[in-house]
Amino acid sequence: MEQDLMAPKQRRKFLQILAGGVGVLLAAAAGWPLLRFLAPPGGGDASDQVTINRGEVAPGSVHMFQYRGRPAVVLQPSPGEFVALSAVCTHLGCIVQWQEEEDLFLCPCHAGRFAADGTVISGPPPEALETLPVTLEGDQILVG
């Protein structure tokens, strides 16, 4: 008699677990495409390289460009010498600006100052700007 009373309960429990399991599976089947759809497109790999015309970077001036989806800068501190840096301030992620008269980078957010080679001069930035590899190929500057 007791067994008869228990059976429907057990059946209900089993069906609840089954429905829950199917629900989880369906949610995963719908959720995976949604996550992939919303995920940012795959960033570049290590072989990503940006080519800039040498003429675009006059001595003492800078050229801003996108490198792996983030702002970067290339400058010619002295004739024939090229330096490429990430333009993202290491403090809170603002974009540094080149101050031609002072030969330094200034972060407009909290007045962090970086030298032309990216090292910190003053202000809150905890570390230097990231240096990017630069090579010259004829009239082309290759970054990355």
């Binding site: 495409p33 949604l34 992939r36 759809f37 919303l38 995920a39």
Partner: protein, 366 residues
């Protein structure tokens, strides 16, 4: 105590959710012989939700500019992960909604469920159907393909048949003499914001009417009794009927699953069904592709315009037919709802369906 029970208790002491559950779900009774045709409203509602969700996802990558729209849709389809899936779900979903809406309206007509002071329910539902058609039309232009450009050119040309103001109306619709970037802008705004807002408000009103007046009893079987209409408002009760939850909700869920499966079957096994080759070419305002046709649900209107010697007569016939349908509950005042006892109506019903199908097929092959 189980965590689920604890959670329900938490909400119950604050919001009285058990009382709501009892009153609105388990204790809300529907007619005992309620059939699967009654589930089509829930099917349409679910499909609308699918459209809104997939539409929001497509908005992330879509660019409403004549120069970029086609490329952005190609990008969604070819480059974004599962972009093809969401685009197809949206495009196929639009067609499946029209099928479900047509079936819903036909079942309401067949069972004369618009009778018994349900005029407002019918009228709001009929406007919803037309709104869905306009949503389809405005959404059709957005991919900015040859198909969408020229189908919209043909469709927006129709009001031009109206005397005196026709040309002005066409120009106003398009934002210019021809379909152009401004047409895309206004269709985009209508499709993603304007019409969905009106749609949501109307769905709310339609559901309110359904709930407030009560579900109509199916006019079949020996148990059916003609409802006596009193001179004041009365909610139609169904003592001893089927509980909305879980009995009816399970039936609803089954039919919804069937429609979703039908939609997915088209997406996976017949993806080209609603995409002729001109849907894959960017819009060219200087080249009209041969044999451009509207979507299947507009074919009857398209062919009607061609049958009559002048466009204005064809348009007039359509307007009269649609107005008659909209006002049917005010015209058909008889209390009888059993189809077998309404031979004239039944004949018109069957002939009407055959005429719709026949003219659509004619339009397709003309």
């Amino acid at each position: 105590m189980s965590p689920l029970k604890a959670l329900i208790d938490f909400f119950d002491v604050r919001l009285g959710v058990r009382e709501i559950y009892q009153r609105e779900l388990a204790g809300y009774l529907l007619p005992r012989r309620v059939n699967i045709w009654y589930t089509l409203g829930s099917v349409v509602l679910t499909l609308f939700i699918v459209q809104i969700l997939t539409g929001i996802l497509l908005l992330i990558y879509y660019v409403p500019d004549a120069e970029k729209a086609f490329q952005s849709v190609q990008y969604i389809t070819d480059d974004v992960a599962f972009g093809w899936l969401f685009r197809m779900l949206h495009a196929v979903g639009a067609n499946v909604i029209i099928i479900a809406l047509l079936l819903h309206m036909l079942s309401v007509l067949f069972m004369a469920a618009y009778k018994g002071r349900r005029e407002l329910t019918w009228l709001s539902g009929f406007i919803l159907f037309n709104l869905a058609l306009i949503l389809c039309l405005t959404g059709y232009l957005l991919p900015w393909s040859q198909l969408s450009f020229w189908a919209t050119t043909v469709a927006t040309d129709v009001p031009g048949a109206i005397p005196v103001v026709g040309d002005l109306l066409v120009e106003f619709l398009r934002g210019g003499e021809t379909v152009n970037n401004l047409t895309l802008g206004r269709f985009f705004a209508l499709h993603v914001v304007g019409l969905p807002l009106v749609l949501l408000a109307l769905i709310g009103f339609h559901l309110f009417c359904v709930k407030r007046r009560g579900i109509s009893t199916p006019p079949f079987g020996e148990e059916y009794q003609q409802e006596e209409l009193l001179p004041f408002f009365e909610h139609e009760e169904h003592p001893g009927g089927t509980p909305f939850f879980p009995n009816y909700v399970v039936k609803d869920a089954a039919v919804i699953c069937f429609f979703l499966a039908f939609m997915l079957a088209i997406v996976f096994y017949a993806p080209g069904l609603f995409f002729p080759p001109s849907a894959f070419e960017p819009a060219d305002p200087f080249v009209t592709p041969p044999g451009i046709k509207p979507e299947w649900y507009f074919l009857w209107a398209y062919q009607t315009l061609k049958i009559f010697p002048s466009e204005i007569i064809g348009l007039g016939v359509q307007i009269i037919f649609m107005t008659f349908l909209a006002l049917l509950p005010f015209i058909d005042r008889g209390a009888e709802r059993r189809p077998a006892k309404r031979p004239i109506f039944l004949t018109c019903f069957v002939l009407g369906i055959l005429l719709f199908v026949g003219i659509s097929i004619w339009g397709h092959y003309s």
